[in-house]
């Protein structure tokens, strides 16, 4: 499975490279997503990039014959999780792609700190959650 993880990661990197080399934009999905409905002007490229994300998943479904993941997370974690992802990516100016994949590669001090902080808080969250579920 790890070969697919590395190859998939390389594809993610190539997607980010193409967007920067061709369009001059950082592939930070939270920012692109926000701009697609709340940009200073109508940003068609953002909508097309997001449509591409979905198209890429469809191509993978078709090519692999894999039925896709099973989504079974309870609302008790999905709802607060989604809300905090929205709050945090706006307040912290980015997510796993913008800070983790692009920002670290730019050697951005802000992105390196942000990635360490969100990885840390995610590890702690899952750790605490696993303890709570055992009670």
């Amino acid at each position: 499975m790890s070969i697919y993880a590395i190859l998939g990661g390389v594809c993610i990197g190539i997607g980010a490279m193409l967007l920067m080399v061709l369009n001059g934009r950082i592939a930070g999905i939270s920012g692109i997503f926000y701009q697609s409905f709340d940009g200073p002007k109508h940003r068609n490229w953002a909508l097309f990039f997001l449509a591409g994300l979905c198209l890429g998943v469809v191509i993978h479904l078709w090519a692999s014959g894999d039925p896709g993941p099973v989504f079974d997370m309870p609302l008790s974690t999905l709802l607060p999780g989604a809300f905090l992802v929205g709050v945090g990516t706006r307040m912290g100016s980015g997510c796993t792609s913008g800070h983790g994949i692009c920002g670290i590669a730019r050697f951005s001090r802000r992105s390196i700190v942000a990635t360490i902080v969100f990885m840390g808080s995610a590890f702690i969250t899952v750790f605490v959650q696993s303890l709570v579920w055992e009670l």
Partner: protein
């Protein structure tokens, strides 16, 4: 042209998310849950992605005058570490740990037509506007 290059970039990116298993929240939680059967795939994905983007940002972009299809490279100019960045990243990490989803896999995952993902994206939008409001409330003096 710019919309087609954006579509192509997004398609490669989205294919990579699915191929690497990052659109499956179970793989994210499996990586974050150090008490369970540890699933290292997220680390391999980061290494594969960073190998390409580091070469891009350190060797390719510095040798280009401008992007192929645009007038300039749009890069963040601020380099200041502030409370906004740290608190925001911390809250994002909690949300990511709770749900196993971050914005990329969530938006790409809309292609699976599953109500969990649709609901996630809708609530994330509410969270984004709340985040703007909360940021103004907490950090307006900055």
């Amino acid at each position: 042209m710019k919309i087609y290059s954006a579509l192509a970039s997004g398609t490669v990116f989205g294919f990579g998310l699915a191929l690497s298993g990052m659109t499956d929240p179970a793989n994210i939680i499996g990586f974050l849950d150090i008490r369970g059967q540890w699933n290292p795939s997220l680390a391999f994905v980061m290494m594969g992605g960073l190998a390409v983007t580091t070469v891009t940002f350190q060797l390719v972009i510095p040798n280009m005058q401008k992007p192929v299809l645009a007038e300039l490279f749009v890069l963040p100019e601020t380099n200041i570490l502030d409370g906004k960045l740290v608190l925001g990243a911390c809250l994002f990490g909690i949300g990511w740990g709770l749900s196993g989803l971050c914005p990329g896999p969530a938006v790409a995952g809309l292609a699976y037509f599953d109500w969990h993902i649709v609901l996630f994206v809708l609530v994330m939008v509410v969270g984004m506007y709340s985040g703007d409001w909360l940021t103004r409330l907490l950090f307006s003096a900055d």
